[in-house]
Symmetry: C2
Subunit: 206 residues, 2 copies
């Protein structure tokens, strides 16, 4: 099936050109024109693969997810569960230049979700991965006795997911206010809170 | 100064046309072309006011902030502090169609932050308002004895801000998974957690 092989090889070539552009110039610079130039193709030839900016960003996000999966499998996940969970969740935050670029791609596509079904599908897939990671994290902590028994695991997973995405957003948009160390500390503070029992309120006297 | 008055009147006219488009068709539909058509202007005349899509979105976000300020001043903020804080923070979440549209504008501009200084400035201003609201919320709760005394108010404000923006993002992008009631409940759960003392961990035995 040489035709299919060619097609896949050319897509891979495009992906490499696209990520060179994204890493060097930022996700917003990834246009049909700039990627064609980087790959040494004509814009017309590239439009055989992608006709819209959304298709290009959706393709880029597939690679973000593949990269994240690869990093996940390459990592050594042994160690104390509290540390492992922190490391797992930090993988999903834009704490280095590669993940900043990856999140730029996600954010450009997320902004298109209300208006574009393809953006909606791809962002839903990516976010589902993050949601499952937060469920895994809270379940693992609960199994290790690091979530107070009177806390509800799905409720805490929902809360952790919102916190994680909010931290990711602030790290990307306001790196001056939320540099990597503050982001890591905010996440650690939240995880450290989960074992506290939701017993009688300290404010009962107010 | 009739020229300045004219200029302001025409900007107000444009703002009205822009918001009719945004509310009816979504923020992504707000282009120089569509707003010119809605206002009955030529695209060339509109380009005298806005030359780029980012300038248009920045103008729209100014109106989002003005709307939010107006709602804030129109609201009756009397009542038990815990309820008032919940209402204040819910004002900042996309829980009805108007605020969904406003957040669409914010998200489109936020996606341009890494590449565009004007987007960066406007989004920073808007986010600063939300940050100050979360600081106000945690401070008011602490003053009422609704934050455990061993908790750090700035740390909790940072965490609440991330949680709030994460919930806003999930409400906008995944309304099927995070409908308004679930968003309100997640926020309430977080606020209810703040009075709990960070005493000895329940997990000390694990």
């Amino acid at each position: 099936m040489p035709k299919i092989v060619d097609h896949e090889a050319r897509r891979a070539e495009l992906a490499e050109a696209m990520w060179r552009v994204v890493y060097r110039d930022g996700a917003a610079a990834a246009t049909v024109r700039s990627i064609a130039a980087e790959a040494g193709w004509s814009p017309g030839a590239l439009r055989h693969y992608f006709t819209t900016q959304t298709e290009l960003l959706a393709f880029a996000l597939e690679h973000v997810m593949a990269n994240a999966t690869e990093r996940f499998h390459a990592e050594d996940w042994t160690g104390p569960i509290r540390e492992v969970v922190q490391r797992l969740l930090e993988e999903l935050l834009p704490l280095d230049q590669q993940r900043v670029r990856e999140m730029e791609v996600w954010l450009l596509l997320a902004a298109r979700v209300p208006a574009d079904p393809l953006a909606r599908t791809r962002v839903a897939e990516a976010d589902d991965g993050v949601r499952r990671a937060t469920e895994l994290a809270v379940t693992a902590l609960a199994d290790a006795g690091l979530v107070a028994p009177d806390r509800d695991v799905p409720t805490e997973a929902t809360r952790l997911h919102a916190l994680l995405d909010g931290l990711a957003l602030h790290a990307l948009l306001h790196p001056d206010l939320m540099p990597p160390d503050r982001v890591r500390a905010a996440l650690a503070h939240h995880l450290d809170d989960l074992p506290r029992a939701t017993g009688p309120s300290a404010a009962d006297t107010s």
